[in-house]
Subunit: 237 residues, 2 copies
Amino acid sequence: MSLKAISSKDAASLDKDLMEIGGWSLDQLMELAGLSVSQAVYRVHPPSAGKNILLVCGPGNNGGDGLVAARHLAQYGYKPSIYYPKQGKNELYQRLRTQLDNLSVPFIEDFPVAIKSADLLVDAIFGFSFGGPLRDPFPTIISQIESALVPVLSVDAPSSWDIESGPPKEGPGSKFMPEYLISLTAPKPCVKYYQGRHFLGGRFLTKSITEKYGLDLPNYPGIDQIVEIGVDAEGKL
Amino acid sequence: MSLKAISSKDAASLDKDLMEIGGWSLDQLMELAGLSVSQAVYRVHPPSAGKNILLVCGPGNNGGDGLVAARHLAQYGYKPSIYYPKQGKNELYQRLRTQLDNLSVPFIEDFPVAIKSADLLVDAIFGFSFGGPLRDPFPTIISQIESALVPVLSVDAPSSWDIESGPPKEGPGSKFMPEYLISLTAPKPCVKYYQGRHFLGGRFLTKSITEKYGLDLPNYPGIDQIVEIGVDAEGKL
């Protein structure tokens, strides 16, 4: 299935429309985005496959989606832990962190050690607003993820990839190909360089929004907050 | 299965704890509460059983949960409509209404006509904070629901029931026994007078909160935001 991608600029404009015209708060949007990430984790990696989920969260909304996902994963019975090297300023991030503290979800400091005991890594570092280049400490973190043996689910885009032109030609991220990707609201142009299982999440768009941005999105089945792309209605690839 | 109920006073205190200590916003809590209501609707009344879901929303947070549920139901492919005779003042309710307007979910005025074409009615009028007595226009509305033939799902408590002592002895609500009930966070004392299918929703409590309020809640299965009470792990009553 080939889906029309949404540019970084249009994705920013769409988010703005949702909040300024659509009546949405960031709290609501992030809750549903993070919920869809948690459902993708459950789909590709059920708790029986290992409960240690390490979420690497960036300083912006992509990281916030990861924090919400971690909260839901804890409710599903996983043992999530968070690596959050650079917390952003929005007070929502602090509240999400409080929620995780109250669930005894640990925020770890030693990433190289944590990655060794992780069963799945969630890359919630950067999403559609990433403009590059990677700034410290993220080149090191991306290199560590790249060389680790743990499977990775990236949120919205593989972190370090250019949203339009995909993986960097050299350096950290140039060999980064996550096993799983969940695009939020709509795929970004860089998905044409992506090879792996691909999901869509963020089930909250209206017909007028999808028409305004020329999106042609698949139907979500039942009550699911995710839909796998490239899979037919019976779940076959 | 007998679950410990939470008093109206403790339920209010628990909500306050979640927001003042737990880092939660009302937007987040209402999103997950409304999502659980939408999943209960899907469970008891899948779209194939009829898509016309009429949600009667009260002026407070119970009504807000109904508005969120309606939004998710529209995303699931239902044709929800809302009867909202007395909109509350919180700006969140207006934003939820805007979200529904953008999905072309109608706010109807003629309740007696709408109820005749509804396949399921969601009673999101009053929840745990209802202190009685019913004030206009709600006595008439409750009587209309009571005498209608449509199945009803009540949110948190059957509206008109006293949260402690159950159905009123006489007048509107005295014969009100909804087919379905979804208790939010924990059952209220009035559930001992309830006969029908009973669900629990609001999958966001922490261990310290359930311990503080002496709750003994069942485990939610998988990624579900609801759990049926009185049903074993294989789904048998």
